[in-house]
Structures are given as structure tokens and as C-alpha cells.
């Protein structure tokens, strides 16, 4: 199909607003109960929301549960186990939740003192409200998208590459979902995008990696649809 007949890629942007759920955990048991009963968007927030939150330099841990285990309850062992969970490997937030609960149960079985340890600073269960809005930017082919990506705000990258995982789980991200329309060259870019690990890097670095992936794979700036 000629590229010009394909649907355009409309760039969107988003703003995230943090909401306190009012639930707090001071002990590992309370954390477990909180995770087991948390709404799905709260689980999502604690794995992905940090990318749009104030933070300093790079994240030490890739999810809030691991960070609290290390700095709140000072249990490095469980912190490390929680930190290697890659949320992209789980097809649903409920499966992701189960894995976290399972690891906590395992640790509670092996370290009895963790039933009694109490953190000074509690874990605060949060969730987020996301407002998505259109922009006046759209592109018709991957070359145009390649040229546009370096100029996109971090929040737009978040929407299309991170938030998309909830909306188009089978494709992984909005760029990949759209690139399906562009034959082999599109496939090559998709394969490169699938290799990007967005988890530890700031969104500005993620944007650069996306731009590099497009530039590397679109030889001479030409894609034949």
C-alpha cells in the first residue's frame, strides 16, 4: 500500500497528576496487603509513573516497591529481587501484581524478623490521573517521524512509548503499532524499538535512543511502503 494512503501518525501529549490513595504501609505485611488490594492504576503508577516524577539523576531502583524495601525497610535482598521484575514481561497488571506479592511472601517465609520490622517513613500508595491532548503535529511516513522525535517533549515520549503499553499491549508502543504499515523497513525499526529498555533512563535519554533507532534503520532516509 502506498505510504500516502496510510493513516497518519498524530502526535499526542499528556500530563500526569498524582493522587494520594490514603493507604500507607509501615511493615512488609502492610505493603503486601496494600499491593494485593490496590487498584490496577496504582500498580501501574508505582512501576511506571516515576518516569514523570521529580527525581534526581537516574533511578536507583526501577520501581517504588523496590526503592522502599531498600530505603524504608532496609532489606536489600528483597529490594534487588523486586528490582529485576520487568513489567513488560507481564501481559496484565494483575499478573505483575501477583509476581510482586509472591516475592514478598517468599521473603516473609525466609526472614521472620520482617514480620516485625517497621519503617520510619511509610510507603504511600499513589495513583495517577492522565490527561491526554492532541497536538498540531502529525506525520505521514517514518522519515517524518524520525525527524520529529528529537523535538517531542518528554511527556509526549511518555505517552507514545510508555503509556501505550496499557493501550496497545500487543504492539508495545504507538510507534511500533503504526510502523506495521511500512513493510520491511518498518519491521526493522520495530525490532530496534523492541530492544530499547526504557526503565532506568530519563525520558530525555529515551527520546535520544528512539531517535537513534529510527535514524539507524531508515537507510538514506527512504522507506518503501
Amino acid at each position: 500500500m502506498p505510504a500516502e494512503q496510510l493513516v497518519q501518525f498524530s502526535v499526542k501529549d499528556c500530563a500526569l497528576l498524582t493522587i494520594a490513595t490514603g493507604r500507607r504501609a509501615y511493615t512488609l505485611g502492610e505493603l503486601r496487603a496494600g499491593i494485593a488490594g490496590a487498584e490496577r492504576d496504582s500498580i501501574y503508577f508505582h512501576f511506571w509513573g516515576g518516569l514523570l516524577q521529580p527525581r534526581f539523576e537516574e533511578r536507583e531502583f526501577n520501581n517504588d516497591f523496590a526503592a522502599w524495601m531498600r530505603h524504608g525497610l532496609h532489606d536489600s535482598r528483597l529490594a534487588e529481587k523486586l528490582a529485576v521484575i520487568d513489567p513488560r514481561e507481564y501481559t496484565s497488571l494483575d499478573l505483575l501484581r501477583s509476581e510482586v506479592v509472591e516475592l514478598i511472601d517468599e521473603r516473609l517465609d525466609e526472614a521472620e524478623y520482617l514480620h516485625f520490622s517497621r519503617a520510619v517513613q511509610p510507603f504511600e500508595f499513589m495513583r495517577a490521573q492522565i490527561v491526554v491532548f492532541g497536538t498540531d503535529k502529525s506525520v505521514a511516513c517514518p522519515e517524518e517521524l524520525a525527524a520529529l522525535i528529537p523535538q517531542l517533549p518528554a511527556s509526549s515520549i511518555f505517552y507514545h512509548f510508555i503509556d501505550a503499553r496499557r493501550r496497545v499491549p500487543e504492539a508495545g508502543d504507538d510507534f511500533s503499532a503504526w510502523l506495521v504499515n511500512f513493510g520491511m523497513p518498518g519491521e526493522r525499526v520495530r525490532a530496534r524499538l523492541a530492544q530499547i529498555d526504557p526503565y532506568f533512563i530519563p525520558l530525555s535519554v529515551l527520546r535520544q535512543q528512539l531517535a537513534d533507532a529510527f535514524a539507524d534503520q531508515l537507510e538514506n532516509g527512504h522507506v518503501v511502503g
Binding site: D13, A15, L16, L17, T18, I19, A20, G22, D41, P54, F56, E57, Q121, P122, E124, M126, R127, A128, Q129, I130, V131, V132, F133, G134, T135, P153, A154, S155
Partner: protein, 411 residues
């Protein structure tokens, strides 16, 4: 255009974001209500949020409630009680609080009842939501205070008024209380173009030093804060004295403005002066509420800034100091935790001893002061400028006007 000026500091992206978020809010009327037009972080930030929102096409207004000395005595006690001070507020003062709000509700009824979104700042005007009667818009209670461990009897009294709102906003998740509506988390921010934060010439900083008899060639540490027990100015003097044995030329500046809604300030100022005694290297400066350029110069004059609070809402003076490239030694409380990152942007401390230790560490390593100061400024640029706060208020308004759905898709 004001927005163009901000684009230069915060970046074009940030401003474009604001324009897009403001589009669905064009023509809507937002009213902010607080209890003072001068002094304190709330008045300062409203002075910039309002014109910025207007430039984005939003009909933003700012109303101030008025009361007598007893009203402010009561609200100051409430403020302290919300921060954990176990104060008993006499029934007589609570009646003054209610009557004052009833009278203000009468005066503001037309404006508030017709607004699309009303932001009520802090406890002073909280009862308006109940007293205003029929209202058409959404009401949001904005708490700027560290209410993580409120004195329960006072919170129990206030809760009824707060619960009458459609949502509330806290600066940190740990400040949020059990309430029957959505509780948003929005850290406050500073205005980089205000008199308090704008770049100053070396000459004007030197002139300020001379005016207050401060020697700019010797090390200076400063705490800029209201004279309030929770800011622990006496503890800062104790820390200075401990450090002075190791840094003999050290000078301390304790500078504070006063606000019309803070009757306790005079008492704490007298205590601070008494603690300073006759040490000519301690400069206790009670400044006019509008002495913004002076405060700006004093923060820039300092090698290291202290904010040794024992309770803190967010600590905008910390943000201001960081924006000026100063490492901050701050109390390990409230919003200071979000800003002061140990060994990166400063140090968090819990005692005068800890403060003096970190002072000695920094004052003996000028290069550390420089690198930590640079990091501090960039951290503020990314996270704590007024453009970020306005973006979150706009997001909240869009959310409020579209119901509290988890995901709101516009256009």
C-alpha cells in the same frame, strides 16, 4: 508577553504544554481565595499564577478574606496545630473564625458561586465552601501546610469544612489525610522572574552586604524564613556557634519577612535576638514583607543556605536558595526531603550538631559548594518552577471539569 519571558527560563516545551492544556479551559473562571495579599509563600505564588493563567486565556481571579486580630490569632493556632503542635483553641476564637468566614462568604458570594473552579488556600477560608450555599463550580482545598501529624482535635474540627470541597491538594503524599474526595499531590514552586529570584548584579549584592554590615569577604551562612518556632532560628544559632569554633570568621544571617496573618512572629523574633546576644557576626534581620530584592541578595551572598525547620510544608525558601546555586542544609522534614538530596543538592539534618557538622564539611570545600549548587539549580529548573505548578493546576482543572476519570482524552 509574560509567557515568552518564562519560555527563556523554563524552555519552549513547558510553555507549549501550558497552551495546549489551557485550550479546553479558555473562558472558564477560576477564583483563588486566601487570607493575605503580602507575605508568605501562598501570596507570592498567586501573584504569578494569576497573570500567567490570564495570559493563557483563563479568567483567573484572586480574592482575599479579611478578619480582625482574633481571627488571625485563631488561624495561626490552627496552622500550628495542623503542623502537630498540641494547641487548644478556645471556643471563643472558633466562633470568631466561623463568623469571620460567614461575613466573607456574604461579601464574596456572587464571585464564588459563579466560578467554574474555586481554590481555597489553607485553613483560613476553609468554611467558605459550606457557607457559600448554592454553588455551580467545583471547589478545591489547597493545603500548603505539613499536615502529616495534625493535632487531632483541631483537624477533627476543620475536617468538616475541608470535606465540603470536591477535591483537595497537598504538597506531599505524606501530608494527605483521610477525606471523602480525591486528594491530588502538587508540590509548590517558585517564580524565577520575581524580585526574589531574578538574577542580581554583583554590585547590588555587595551593596546589600554593606547595608547590613555583613563582610562579603568572609564566609556567610543564611537562613531566610519567617520568625516561627517550627523554623527553629534558635537552633540555627546553636549550630552556628558549634561551627564557629572551626570556622572562626563565619557570619550568620537570620532574615525573615513578616506576614499580616502571623501574630506570633514578634515573640519568636525576640527569642532569636536574645539567643544571638551581643555576637556582632550574627545578623538578625526583620525585613518588610516586600523586601524581596533584599532577601534575594542575602541568599546570593550566602555560601551555604540553612533551612533547619522541624516542620515544613514544602520549604519554598529551600527552592529559592537552590535556584541561586546554593547547597542547602535542611531539616529532615516535609518537602525539604523532596528537594535536598544528601551529597547532591545539600544535606538533611535533624539537630544543631548535624547542621554544624555539614556546615564545617561544606565551608572547608569550596569546590563541593560549587558543584552541589549547580546540581541544585538544575534540579529546580526541571521540577520546581512556577510553569510546572501551573501545568498541574491546569491538569487538575481539566480533570475536575471532566469528572475524576483515571484517563481523560481531549481533542
Amino acid at each position: 508577553m509574560l509567557l515568552d519571558d518564562y519560555a527563556q527560563v523554563a524552555g519552549e516545551d513547558a510553555i507549549e504544554h501550558l497552551r495546549q492544556l489551557a485550550r479546553p479551559l479558555a473562558g472558564k473562571r477560576f477564583v483563588h481565595v486566601n487570607s493575605t495579599r503580602v507575605g508568605g509563600g501562598v501570596a507570592e505564588i498567586l501573584r504569578k499564577l494569576i497573570p500567567l493563567a490570564r495570559e493563557l486565556g483563563i479568567d483567573a481571579q484572586w480574592e482575599v478574606i479579611t478578619g480582625d486580630t482574633e481571627f488571625y490569632e485563631c488561624t495561626k493556632a490552627m496552622h500550628n496545630a495542623l503542623q502537630g503542635n498540641p494547641l487548644h483553641i478556645p471556643e471563643r476564637l472558633l466562633r470568631v473564625y466561623e463568623e469571620t468566614n460567614r461575613a466573607n462568604a456574604e461579601q464574596l458570594r456572587d464571585v464564588l458561586a459563579a466560578a467554574d473552579v474555586v481554590f481555597i488556600h489553607d485553613p483560613q477560608p476553609a468554611p467558605l465552601a459550606e457557607y457559600i450555599g448554592k454553588r455551580s463550580g467545583r471547589w478545591v482545598w489547597r493545603c500548603h501546610i505539613d499536615a502529616s501529624h495534625p493535632h487531632r482535635p483541631v483537624w477533627k474540627y476543620l475536617r468538616r469544612y475541608v470535606a465540603a470541597h470536591d477535591a483537595s491538594v497537598f504538597s506531599l503524599a505524606s501530608f494527605a489525610q483521610a477525606l471523602p474526595h480525591t486528594e491530588y499531590i502538587i508540590p509548590p514552586s517558585i517564580d524565577p522572574l520575581s524580585d526574589k529570584n531574578i538574577a542580581l548584579s554583583e554590585a547590588s549584592i555587595r551593596e546589600t552586604a554593606i547595608r547590613f554590615d555583613i563582610d562579603p569577604t568572609r564566609p556567610v551562612v543564611a537562613q531566610v524564613s519567617r520568625f516561627d518556632r517550627f523554623k527553629d532560628p534558635v537552633g540555627v544559632i546553636a549550630a552556628y556557634r558549634l561551627a564557629k569554633d572551626y570556622v572562626p570568621h563565619l557570619q550568620l544571617v537570620l532574615a525573615g519577612g513578616s506576614a499580616t496573618d502571623d501574630p506570633e512572629g514578634e515573640v519568636v523574633l525576640a527569642e532569636t535576638r536574645a539567643a544571638a546576644g551581643d555576637d556582632t557576626d550574627i545578623h538578625v534581620l526583620a525585613l518588610a514583607p516586600d523586601a524581596h530584592r533584599t532577601i534575594n541578595a542575602l541568599q546570593r551572598l550566602a555560601d551555604v543556605v540553612i533551612q533547619k525547620s522541624t516542620r515544613e510544608g514544602f520549604g519554598l525558601t529551600v527552592t529559592e536558595a537552590m535556584w541561586k546555586g546554593k547547597p542547602v542544609i535542611g531539616g529532615d522534614v516535609g518537602g525539604i526531603r523532596l528537594q535536598v538530596i544528601d551529597h547532591h543538592t545539600g544535606f538533611r539534618v535533624s539537630s544543631p550538631e548535624g547542621t554544624s557538622l555539614r556546615l564545617r564539611y561544606l565551608l572547608h570545600q569550596p569546590r563541593k559548594i560549587q558543584t552541589m549548587g549547580w546540581k541544585a539549580r538544575e534540579f529546580v529548573r526541571e521540577n520546581f518552577l512556577v510553569t510546572r505548578q501551573l501545568r498541574e493546576y491546569l491538569t487538575l482543572c481539566v480533570g475536575m471539569l471532566h469528572g475524576a476519570a483515571e484517563r481523560i482524552e481531549l481533542g
